[in-house]
């Protein structure tokens, strides 16, 4: 009975409420969509960054018991008694390029003083992790290739290249 007594004004108000909710609802959905598309827009789909796989030349460039820093690619090529292996030269602390100190036989970071062994193991400093080993192999032309995007276990048999 109470519903029947509701005049045209009551209907008008509930219709207005309905359309208000409809409008706000669609705006909210549009806002969420805009946020999602904006986020996607800000995230590049194609990166014109250098390839993670780099050619580091013939193995005989690297004499036995040598540590060679490839400045442009941010890696070390190390020719040890066990074979060739590659180490990231990017400090695990905040991303500075480390340097090989021949006279001390260590890898040191100029930014905040982290120190690493030739095997990448951390000696001291703010760096939280050892320098990661990178996958290294020899291609058909006899060049050493390093994949900087792939970490391999330190000192593992397969992490060396033997000739």
């Amino acid at each position: 009975m109470a519903e029947e007594k509701q005049g045209p004004l009551g209907d008008e108000l509930s219709r207005r409420k309905f359309f208000t909710k409809l409008g706000l609802g669609s705006l909210s959905i549009a806002a969420v969509g805009t946020a999602a598309f904006s986020y996607q827009y800000l995230e590049p789909n194609v990166l014109y960054e250098p390839s993670p796989v780099v050619n580091t030349g013939k193995p005989d460039r690297y004499p036995l018991d040598s540590v060679t820093l490839d400045v442009n690619n941010g890696i070390y090529i190390i020719h040890s008694q066990e074979g060739y292996f590659s180490l990231s030269a990017v400090c695990t602390h905040l991303g500075c390029l480390t340097a090989w100190k021949q006279e001390l036989g260590i890898i040191a970071c100029p930014c905040h003083g982290s120190k690493f062994e030739q095997s990448g193991r951390k000696i001291e400093g703010p760096a939280p992790r050892p320098l990661p080993w990178k996958r290294i192999w020899i291609n058909d032309d006899g060049d050493l290739l390093v994949d900087r995007s792939t970490d391999v276990p330190a000192l593992a048999r397969d992490s060396f290249v033997r000739i």
Binding site: L47, E49, G95, C96
Partner: protein
Amino acid sequence: MAKTVDQYFDDLQQTRVWRSIFRSGTGSSTLKRALAIQQNVFLHLFSTKVRTRMLSFSATWYLGTLTLGTFFILVGTGIPLMLYYHPSVPQAYADTKDLQFVVSSGLFLRNLHRWSAHAMVFLVFAHMFKVFYRGAYRTPREFNWVIGVILLLITLLLSYTGYLLPWDQLAYWAITVGSNIASAVPVIGDKIHFLLLGGHAVNANALLRFYVLHCMILPLTAMFFVAIHFWRIRKDGGLYSHQSEPMTVKATNGSATSGKEAR
């Protein structure tokens, strides 16, 4: 009898063009002077009347105004610098060198921009210390303190993004280190790092993003919050002074009147 400069200025103020721009009218009555502030789009953010003691050096050391001054210098020098600077990897460093050694007055503008940036960071901190130690952050000014903290962050971000633009070794490694600090954020750290740089390393995308942030997004955001900051000074009862404190302590002194003393 020859007119003085003041009389020429008075005549100018009576012209129809002048009166169409400045509606408040001439004269030095209190009302006219208040209207001159209230009816100006830039000045209406401020109080129409200020006690002269609040304009004394000791009240604020003018630190907020000086900060605004450095901001104006930074906008005024930054826009001309944009005319010679290309935010691209092959050109950025060379353009910076050109600004220093080839462009007329380029060295002056660049150094003015750089020193003002340093001064602004210093002044923002000095301003905050002054506000803090005077207790001017307390009710009813808490929200303006919050706006101030946002402005501090924008100032630091402006410094940080501007630091990359010369594209020298110092800039490159500073941004490498700084963006890696952003990666330390739990869970979404690497995502922030990727979005900030537009890639995995400091490169062409990062340079362009920092340029847009430095020249467009952050200055506009700063202006937006500066406007609120100034408007809130008026809304919160003007510049802070000890006399504007509620009279809770003095009320025990035998005075029956409470509330606020005249500012």
